[in-house]
């Protein structure tokens, strides 16, 4: 038995190099490194927000984190275990995702869609046991989508879709929930609502929740921990307050007259005449 003090519950990145091997027809694949030397933690019970400018590699990092693409070097540990050594079928019971791609699953009610999250727990016949059905109901309840259960997924608003997809990921019963840009198609109230739900899920279900987002100011207010993937391809892992204090957010995001104010944690427009 491993003493619990040596195991960090949640996710750890150890000197990780991310990137991809591009498959090309009839030629050798080319390896493109996106970022290297990445180390960070995301604990259970916390909402971790991954931020960074466009093209910094947020999606690549998240795909590597949840095992959808292999790390080029380094390790990802989930509850102390290297994801590269866990079989995909077992990994699926520990990590679930909400991807950024739009899906069009056809004729599915929200309840049926959420039930798809039980896939790794089901036999080949896909028959749902009473426990599976209970897990589906709990997931719907946890994201506040119970009232949507019998609606067709294709007829939902974007906010309701993200909520349903989050319930699907939750029904998978993971210890790590990864969301790639879950707020991107949403209007302002839906964004705040969704991020609020994610923070609550992390605390109430003791999940490690990692989401990437462009909503920097919102993330700074609600996240327990931030991962900042900078333009210099380094990853900084810290609390929102400490990260703001360090000036790294300004370094990564300031453009033109826009300046990040670490005291108020919002971006300000500098008056034109005051510039030197």
């Amino acid at each position: 038995m491993i003493p619990s003090s040596t195991v960090t519950p949640g996710v750890e990145l150890h000197d990780l190099t991310i990137g991809y091997t591009r498959r090309r027809a009839l030629r050798r694949g080319t390896v493109t490194e996106v970022a290297s030397g990445l180390s960070a933690v995301a604990r259970r019970g916390e909402l971790t927000a991954l931020v960074g400018p466009n093209g910094a590699g947020k999606s690549t990092l998240l795909r590597t984190l949840c095992g959808l693409q292999p790390a080029l070097r380094g390790r990802v540990l989930i509850d102390g275990e290297d994801v590269a050594t866990v079989k995909p079928a077992d990994l699926a019971t520990r990590i679930s995702v909400v991807l950024t791609e739009r899906i069009d699953p056809g004729l599915f009610t929200v309840r049926e869609l959420v039930a798809l999250g039980r896939t790794p727990h089901l036999p080949a016949s896909a028959r749902l046991s009473p426990e599976d059905l209970a897990a589906v109901d709990q997931a719907l309840e946890a994201v506040g989508a119970t009232r949507l259960a019998s609606r067709q997924f294709s007829e939902l608003s974007d906010g309701q879709r993200q909520r349903s997809l989050t319930a699907r990921a939750l029904a998978q019963d993971p210890s790590l929930l990864v969301l790639d840009e879950p707020t991107s198609f949403l209007d302002v109230p839906s964004r705040v609502e969704l991020v609020d739900v994610l923070g609550r899920l992390a605390r109430e279900q003791n999940l490690a929740v990692v989401m990437s987002t462009h909503e920097l100011e919102l993330a700074l207010r609600v996240a327990d921990r931030m991962w900042l993937l900078g333009t210099d391809r380094t990853l900084t892992c810290d609390t929102p307050a400490a990260l703001a204090e360090s000036g790294r957010i300004g370094a990564a995001f300031d453009r033109g007259r826009m300046r990040f104010d670490s005291r108020t944690m919002v971006f300000d427009l500098k008056p034109e005449d005051s510039s030197v």
């Binding site: 959808l68 699953p105 896939t119 080949a124 019998s150 007829e155 608003s157």
Partner: protein, 367 residues
């Protein structure tokens, strides 16, 4: 497509407490089973010679009809033809559903993707080049010869599908992939025509007739091969239900749920190749059924869930194939229309009507 469509009638109809659609699903299954029974009886009863229903039923229950010719007609012609239609309809419905899910394309089916052409090529190679005995076309090949034709057809179908799967590693666009399938199908058909140039004219003529499609060329000994192969293909298909459902969310989600995409693709291709290959070997390449049956089943059952759709398309496919078979035989006359003409004449308006009536279909979300 737009996400905001407002509430659908289907969504508001369902009772708040019961799981939605359960009543509808059992209703549709009941209707299909009744329809299958009715179509089976019609298929055995109707034909160029009118056999009274009572006499037909006597033969079906193992007794002799009062006229020995009636016994012969029902037992040796109409019953094999009926069982063939049921097996082929079920097989093509399932193969079509598999292709539409695997390639995430509403227009995919074994015929369009070139699997039927691949099967034809396999048949052409065995029959035209290999000789397969001096007697007539596939009807003349008994026993192992017939099994050889089926095997060649399944291998031909599998070869085309595997090539498409291989290309799908590089081709991300579903439309492009479909076009590649169409091109492969045309090229394969062209190779078949070239082969026919080098065969004797009588063989070519028989091959062309076979290509029009028919349920009537099968005998009891053929059914001993066709039925087990189709059942085998269906059994393999049943193993992939969980994975096919996960694939509806796209490959990323399917993989995140622990589905091994390569295994699913291979299993599905093997199953579809058995189903499309066996039916093509015995009945010729039959279009339209594989394409329309999954769409009609989705709309009838109101779900894309493969647990319901897989048995659903098998039943619906069998019913539609029986109806097309009856129509191609024009009851009361000796006229026989090519089966493919009937499936297209019945199928095309159905597809168009259904697509126009369904908002989801019109928006391209029928999958």
């Amino acid at each position: 497509m737009t996400a905001v469509l407002g509430a659908s009638p289907a969504a508001t109809e369902s009772a708040p407490d019961s799981p939605p659609g359960t009543g509808r699903v059992s209703l549709v299954f009941t209707a299909l089973i009744v329809g299958l029974a009715a179509a089976t009886i019609l298929s055995v009863t109707l034909g160029s010679v009118t056999v009274p229903l009572g006499e037909t039923l006597r033969v079906l229950f193992g007794q002799e009809a009062s006229d020995p010719r009636w016994s012969m007609v029902v037992r040796d012609l109409r019953l094999p033809r009926t069982i063939t239609a049921i097996a082929v309809g079920a097989a093509l419905g399932i193969a079509g559903l598999q292709m539409q899910t695997l390639f995430r394309n509403a227009l995919a089916d074994p015929f369009i993707l070139g699997a039927s052409s691949g099967a034809s090529l396999g048949v052409a190679i065995v029959v035209v080049i290999g000789g397969g005995g001096a007697s007539g076309f596939t009807a003349g090949l008994a026993g192992l010869g017939r099994a050889g034709v089926v095997l060649a057809a399944a291998l031909g179908a599998a070869a085309v599908l595997l090539l498409i799967v291989l290309l799908s590693r590089w081709v991300r666009s579903a439309v492009t992939l479909l076009l590649i399938g169409v091109m492969l199908g045309s090229a394969t058909t062209a190779v078949v025509s070239v082969l026919l140039v080098y065969s004797d004219p009588q063989r070519s003529q028989q091959f062309l007739v076979w290509g029009l499609g028919s349920f009537t060329a099968t005998t009891w000994s053929d059914l001993k091969l066709l039925v087990p192969v189709v059942l085998g293909g269906i059994a393999v298909a049943l193993l992939t239900v969980r994975a096919l459902n996960a694939l509806l969310l796209g490959e990323g989600y399917a993989r995140s749920m622990g589905i091994d995409i390569r295994v699913v693709r291979l299993t599905t291709v093997v199953s579809a190749a058995l189903l499309a290959g066996a039916t093509t070997a015995f009945c010729g390449p039959i279009g339209f059924l594989g394409l329309i049956v999954p769409h009609l089943a989705r709309m009838a059952f109101g779900t894309s869930d493969h647990r319901i759709l897989l048995p659903g398309v098998a039943l619906l496919g069998a019913v539609l194939a029986l109806v097309c078979g009856i129509m191609s035989q024009m009851p009361g006359t000796d006229t026989v229309f090519p089966l493919n003409a009937v499936t297209a004449i019945v199928g095309a308006p159905v597809v168009i009507a259904v697509l126009i009536r369904s908002r989801r279909g019109a928006l391209g979300a029928a999958l």
